[in-house]
């Protein structure tokens, strides 16, 4: 990597870190590109040479965060135990624990996925392949374990689970609920959906 590229990379890192903290501390809407540049110690212009918009900055902040999380998941997934429902409950509980550390950041991420102004450089919530793949794998393995029927629509089930997962963050948004409360809600939802995916006798 040339000196120029290294500098560019360093700027990028600093911007993403500053944005992550500001979005969580003061809120996404309230945070300006100028404020991000100031916190990162770079010029406003150099933020814009790296990212087209604030929405793109948020998207990249989340991608990087989730990249780290999923690298960790790849390591722990083989060690999950219990029924398919149990394993899914664990996966979501870990997500809630992780995201509630910076909950306003995550709420902004969900809000942005409904934003009327969509940028081409943005990967909105719901389009994370890694989460979908992981959930689908656990469900498919459930067929082998014998607690998931083989004719289940796996992709559709993953989608329903993801909708519940995201929606439970309303508890955090409206009532300041913690990770344990959201996990408990998710456990109930998974329990109900699981009662429909068990093999029919």
């Amino acid at each position: 990597m040339g000196v120029r590229d290294e500098q560019k990379q360093a700027t990028r890192e600093r911007v993403l870190e500053a944005a992550r903290d500001l979005f969580n501390e003061t809120g996404y809407e309230e945070t300006t590109i100028r404020a991000i540049a100031e916190r990162a110690g770079v010029s406003v212009g150099s933020v814009f040479t790296t990212f087209a918009s604030k929405a793109e900055v948020l998207s990249h902040v989340m991608q990087r965060r989730l990249g780290d999380l999923y690298a960790e998941f790849d390591r722990v997934l083989p060690f999950l135990r219990g029924t398919t429902a149990d394993r899914l409950c664990s996966i979501f509980a870990i997500h809630y624990e992780f995201e509630t550390r910076r909950v306003r950041l995550f709420l902004a991420h969900i809000a942005a996925s409904y934003s009327p102004t969509n940028d081409p450089g943005v990967t909105p919530y719901g389009r994370n392949e890694h989460l979908a793949d992981m959930l689908e794998m656990v469900l498919r393995d459930g067929v082998g374990r014998g607690d998931v029927r083989p004719d289940l629509d796996f992709a559709l089930t993953v989608e329903v689970l993801k909708a519940c997962y995201a929606s439970n963050y309303r508890l955090a948004a409206a009532q300041g609920a913690d990770a344990a409360t959201m996990s408990a809600a998710m456990d109930r939802q998974i329990g109900l959906i699981a009662s429909g995916w068990r093999p029919r006798l």
Binding site: A111, P116, T157, V160, A163, A174, L192, I193, S195, G196
Partner: protein
């Protein structure tokens, strides 16, 4: 199906005895609401300022503040008016359904048809619901509570008809159904799904959600 916003057509229900002053005030409100609706749709909630709205309505910001205490009140009034327009239709659609799935598809279908006509406004309202304060949350919860009652009614009828298990947690089923209903709007936003696409997909999702609840 035609959906006319009550914001724009509230004139017909005006009591005759309104004074000229009161009438003028009401017209101001209507002008503000109509301009605000347009701008929120175009720019989202954060992107539209009171100043912009006043300008679009052809009045001073002071005149806007005489009718509404702040932007969030203005936004809430638009959403509540919309909600009032569709509630009765959703209720009827739920009644017309012959089984649980049809009742739910009916009521959510009304909402999809209505909101897809003005998708940017809906997007703004969902986006705001994730980041805004207690006041917004309270209003939304008030409206949503009525909708949840409709969903619950449909599920309870299914229990009575022997379609669903007697011990099914209808509240939980309603919650999950609502979650997928809302999440599906992203398909309209990002993938250009039509009302028909959304309804067909929701039907599959409901089949999956109800699978464990069926008697």
């Amino acid at each position: 199906m035609s959906f006319v916003s009550v914001n724009i057509e509230s004139g017909s229900e005006t009591p005759v005895k309104l004074t000229r002053r009161a009438l003028a005030k009401q017209r101001t409100r209507e002008r503000v609401l109509s301009a605000a609706r347009q701008l929120f749709s175009e720019r989202g909630y954060e992107g539209a300022t009171i100043r912009d709205i006043a300008q679009a309505a052809g009045m001073s910001t002071g005149a806007v503040f005489a009718s509404f205490s702040d932007k969030s009140e203005l936004f809430d009034e638009i959403l509540t008016a919309d909600y009032e327009v569709i509630y009765a239709q959703m209720k009827q659609a739920a009644r017309d359904g012959e089984n649980v799935a049809d009742a739910l598809i009916g009521l959510f279908g009304v909402a999809y048809s209505f909101h897809l006509e003005q998708l940017p406004l809906l997007q703004a309202s969902i986006a705001v619901s994730w980041t805004r304060s207690d006041a917004a949350e309270k209003r939304a919860r008030g409206d949503i509570k009525h909708l949840f009652a409709l969903i619950n009614d449909a599920l309870e009828r299914g229990v009575k008809a022997g379609e669903l298990k007697a011990d099914v947690n209808t509240k939980l089923v309603a919650e999950i159904a609502w979650d997928v209903y809302v999440a599906n709007y992203r398909r309209a936003v990002f993938d250009g799904w039509t009302v028909e696409n959304l309804v067909a997909h929701l039907r599959e999702q409901l089949t999956l959600i109800l699978a464990g609840a069926r008697a």
